[in-house]
């Protein structure tokens, strides 16, 4: 099948009955005839190459994998031909600035643009919410309806009834994206915002209590490490392309760096770095860390001087003022702490499933091989007591003398360089209240009852940045309350309404009652489960249909260099898809503040010119918009790899950390004041609900994680046929557990607990611990007539029970039973 035929099929499968208001010109072979006389071809964009001529233009991969890559696409006669990697000439590639060759997902982008499930025109719900019955409406009607509903809801409930839901399907700098919509909503009077993320809520909230901020070494520094200890890091899958984390791990392995990976699964990162696998029971990393620290203490293998000068509360002598006796980490290790239990390797072996001797040897190895990079990733903190893991790992980095040195790390996730770029200006939100992003269903059901002390609602929205503004524990205004429950939700390229949020069957019930949340507007490119639960669906553009700007840092997990990409509009928007700037502006007009919204920006280019000016203000050689567009990318070398907290290591008095004591705060006096057993002042092992030792295992014996997957960025790319083919959705299960249940590799199985049922093929593999299973997250929830999910959406089984402090998603802490179907 040629690309053109593929496109023809995509068009034909779904659009036979519609008439396009667009004047499509150049036909793609045969489509016009097949479409019953409707003129339907694809039009070359203005200024495109002449007919028959092929152009290569840069486009971005702009989703939320945590990495970033540079793509280019060959385009001819208004049709995408094929993807090519980062067009930087090979001879310009350097060791510090490698070409950002896209991963398997990025390579498939054309099939995502031409996916048969592309939304083609605005839709309004006609059946019950979630039933999936929609009617085609005009853009005029869609925008008029949204505007009048916004006015009605504002009049009845005020702006505190509005919510902009957590969503990252389009993660780029702009002009398209969340900012332009938020600009419109703020000019409208504002909305309740969120803080934190579904990815790293506990990391974001808890890390500042020990290190005062986030400053891992840049990812390219691992090539300087002799040994790398990864805790729950599968960068070869999550940030698998380009110049992201996975690339640098492979570079280090190639140079001879040894990898040791603590993970319940022998991940692709273990296999590809040819690392040593330490298969651990899920949710027990803090017990392993305590036992390793215990061995280092008993065998005198740690940097005593550093711990005395740079840490607070490691032992009794450095406890902050006012801390009770025997509340130090040392007391916890040696059996003098609150639980009077020595954290011996034997103690940890019973919990972690790792033999005691192996734990002791691991402690000796990481204490003696220098430099050693100790790196945590976010999987282990997306668990019942994720905050404990976050704060425990830096202790190992500090004890072993690897903190603040090249080839070492701070125990955090690696960072990376960034290219400062202006963005769309978002005026201040008049609504000065926000919720933890994961808690939005509570905002629907009991928003006005949510409190600062129990639900950790906060003042002004800080978006993903969980530590800006009020911190969780030092709220200025304890009496903060929402004036309304949520009545209006804007869902911008997001799938957290259904699918990416926990416990789908509960969320469904919350949403199906449309007397509570009255209006859900979704902007999407495909019919996601969240779109199905919306009232108005607006068809958005993909990155190939709009000019935009993307910077390379993603979440910063890459080398110390940076880049910015000019994302070209390479084809006209498919069907009736519209870009975000247009949508926001149309609503601003209808709501009566069009001029204020535009603020002198008549075109998309005007916004982009401002963004480039922003970059030029910080980077003197940043090109003009025209030059930037022509070349397609701008790369900013970073020089030597960055070392986190280097200055603090050199002189902790002159360069204190951002903690209360200015030290590595192993004992946090601020957390001690909370007097909450689930948020203790030192990071300890707390046995999990639905964890390895929960008696519920008698009924549901298998632990289940829902890790990231190579074929998707969360739920994005789920609709791409060749990715589904390359990496089928399945549940990983150990042969011992499978044999006991009569399950063979490839059998379809039933996975269930009290929250739901999933039917999914089994992947029977020795690469996962016995007692543990994994359903990769992001498959689109697909219920059959009995309410059984038949695609393998892990959130049919997960728990809407947040972490204690960050109120974060506990996606990996679940118990299930598995049966052969």
């Amino acid at each position: 099948m040629t690309q053109n035929n593929f496109l023809t099929k995509a068009l034909n499968d779904t659009v036979m009955t519609r008439r396009s208001f667009l004047k499509w010109s150049a036909a793609i072979g045969g489509t016009a005839a097949l479409a019953g006389g409707v003129d339907f071809g694809l039009k070359a964009i203005e200024g495109a190459a002449a007919a028959g001529e092929e152009q290569t233009l840069t486009v971005g991969c702009y989703h939320n994998c945590g990495g970033r890559c540079i793509l280019a696409t060959k385009v001819k006669d208004g049709t995408l031909q094929r993807i090519v990697p980062d067009p930087t000439p090979v001879e310009e590639e350097t060791a510090e600035v490698p070409r950002a060759i896209p991963c398997v997902r990025g390579r498939s982008q054309i099939r995502r643009v031409y996916a048969p499930d592309r939304l083609k025109y605005p839709l309004k719900r006609v059946g019950k919410r979630g039933e999936g019955k929609f009617e085609r409406i005009s853009w005029e009607e869609a925008l008029d309806t949204i505007a009048s509903e916004m006015k009605r809801i504002k009049e009845s409930y005020g702006n505190e009834a509005f919510y902009f839901n957590y969503a990252w399907g389009v993660t780029w700098n702009g002009p398209d994206g969340s900012s332009i919509i938020q600009r419109m909503l703020n000019l409208f009077g504002g909305y309740v915002g969120y803080y934190g993320t579904y990815s790293e809520a506990a990391y974001g909230v808890a890390m500042p209590y020990i290190l005062g901020g986030y400053t891992g070494n840049s990812a390219d520094d691992v090539v300087n490490s002799k040994l790398v200890l990864l805790l729950g890091d599968n960068s070869l899958v999550t940030r698998s392309g380009g110049d992201n984390g996975g690339y640098w791990y492979m570079k280090a392995a190639e140079k001879g760096t040894k990898f040791i990976v603590v993970d319940p699964m022998l991940t692709d990162t273990v296999a590809a770095t040819q690392g040593e696998w330490i298969p651990i029971n899920p949710g027990t990393d803090t017990a392993l860390i305590a036992a390793m620290a215990y061995v280092m203490v008993k065998e005198n293998l740690y940097d005593k001087e550093f711990m005395a000068t740079h840490a607070a509360g490691f032992d009794e002598s450095t406890l902050p003022e006012g801390a009770p006796r025997n509340s130090s980490y040392m007391a916890y290790l040696t059996g003098k702490g609150y639980d009077k239990v020595e954290k011996t390797p034997e103690w940890a072996a019973a919990i972690t499933g790792i033999p005691a001797e192996r734990i002791a040897n691991l402690a000796r190895e990481i204490a003696s091989v220098k430099p050693c990079a100790i790196i945590q990733c976010w999987g282990p903190q997306r668990r019942a007591y994720g905050e404990q893991f976050v704060r425990a790992v830096p202790i190992l980095a500090a004890m072993t003398g690897n903190f603040g040195i090249s080839g070492g790390n701070t125990g955090q996730l690696p960072g990376g360089g960034y290219c400062p770029m202006g963005g769309i200006p978002v005026p201040p939100n008049p609504v000065q209240i926000s919720i933890p992003c994961f808690m939005w269903p509570d905002f629907v059901t009991r928003g006005t009852e949510m409190t600062v002390e129990k639900d950790y609602i906060r003042g002004a929205s800080t978006g993903w940045n969980a530590t800006a503004g009020d911190t969780t524990t030092t709220q200025a205004n304890k009496d903060l309350r929402l004036k309304s429950n949520m009545k209006f939700m804007w869902n911008h390229g997001g799938n957290c309404i259904i699918n990416q949020h926990a416990d789908v069957n509960y969320t469904r019930k919350v949403l199906e009652d449309d007397s509570k949340l009255e209006m859900i507007v979704t902007v999407e490119v495909g019919m996601t489960p969240s779109a199905v639960y919306s009232d108005i669906i607006l068809p958005g553009t993909t990155g190939f249909e709009v000019d935009n700007i993307i910077t390379g840092e993603g979440h910063g997990i890459k080398g110390n260099h940076a880049w910015a990409l000019y994302n070209h509009k390479v084809i006209e928007p498919m069907f009736e898809a519209k870009d975000d700037v247009w949508i926001a502006e149309q609503l601003a007009e209808r709501l009566g503040f069009g001029d204020k919204f535009r603020d002198g920006h008549a075109t998309r280019e005007d916004w982009m010119r401002d963004m480039v000016a922003g970059a030029q203000a910080s980077v003197s050689n940043f090109p003009s918009l025209e030059e930037f567009k022509e070349k397609g990318y701008f790369k900013l070398p970073g020089g030597k790899p960055f070392v986190g907290f280097e200055a603090f290591r050199a002189d902790p008095e002159a360069n204190p950390l951002g903690t209360a004591t200015g030290k590595i705060e192993i004992y946090s006096p601020v957390l001690a004041n909370l007097k909450n057993e689930e948020i203790p002042p030192i990071p300890i092992y707390i046995p999990e609900w639905e964890g390895v030792s929960d008696p519920l295992r008698e009924k549901y014996p298998l632990m289940m994680m829902t890790t990231h997957f190579i074929a998707r960025s969360h739920s994005t790319f789920e609709n791409v046929d060749i990715l589904r083919e390359a990496h089928p959705q399945c549940i990983w299960i150990n042969p011992l557990d499978a044999e006991a249940r009569g399950i063979k590799n490839g059998d379809t199985v039933k996975v269930y607990n009290d929250r739901g049922i999933v039917h999914i093929p089994a992947y029977v593999t020795n690469r996962i611990r016995p007692g543990t299973t994994n359903i990769p997250q992001g498959a689109h929830y697909t219920p059959n007539a009995d309410g059984v999910d038949i695609r393998g959406c892990g959130n049919t089984l997960t728990n809407y029970r947040p972490t204690p402090m960050a109120k974060g998603f506990t996606a990996h802490t679940n118990l299930v039973q598995v049966e052969r179907l």
Binding site: C103, D268, W277, D721
Partner: protein
Amino acid sequence: MAKQLAFYVDINKCSGCKACQVACKDKSSLPVGVRWRRVFQYEGGEWIDQSGQMIPSNVYAYSVSSACMHCAKPICMDVCPTSAISKRDDGIVLINADMCIGCRYCSWACPYGAPQFNEELSVMTKCDMCHDLVDMGERPACVEACPYRAMDFGALDELQAKHGTFADPAPLPDPSITEPAVVYTPNKVTKSSRNANGRLMNLEEL
């Protein structure tokens, strides 16, 4: 006579991500079900009881990216009843779609499963080493696609001089059958077709 062209894969650098497979399908517009490049996940070992604790014993895993090997002895060519398969001067083995009757003899004969039936076209198809790109001096799409630079392509004798002659990482068959134009660098757990003790895991690639 031009030199025989060949693929090279360094298993040390392969993560099993299948960017090569997807790039191939993107470049050659292949439908679902036709995979000119396949990536086999191979795994071995077991879990054993060590004084009450379950521990992994020699558990290993690696991936093998594999396509048409453009063999020195292309058995597909031998069995084709319509002489639709030919070998170019540079060793690239091609199927002429106009002459192919879709009988599938080639796919049954090939020990690599390289020729695959395309139902929409009703003919056999297989990796053509992106000969259109190669003829323009470019590299095949799969080679260009690898984020970890695990792949290369070039003259077989030059690749062998550089990387050795290992051509049969399990689960691939004994190379003496067709003399494939391919070179692999094994990683430390890679087995050969002769000492294979694991199993092919990803059933979608069967």
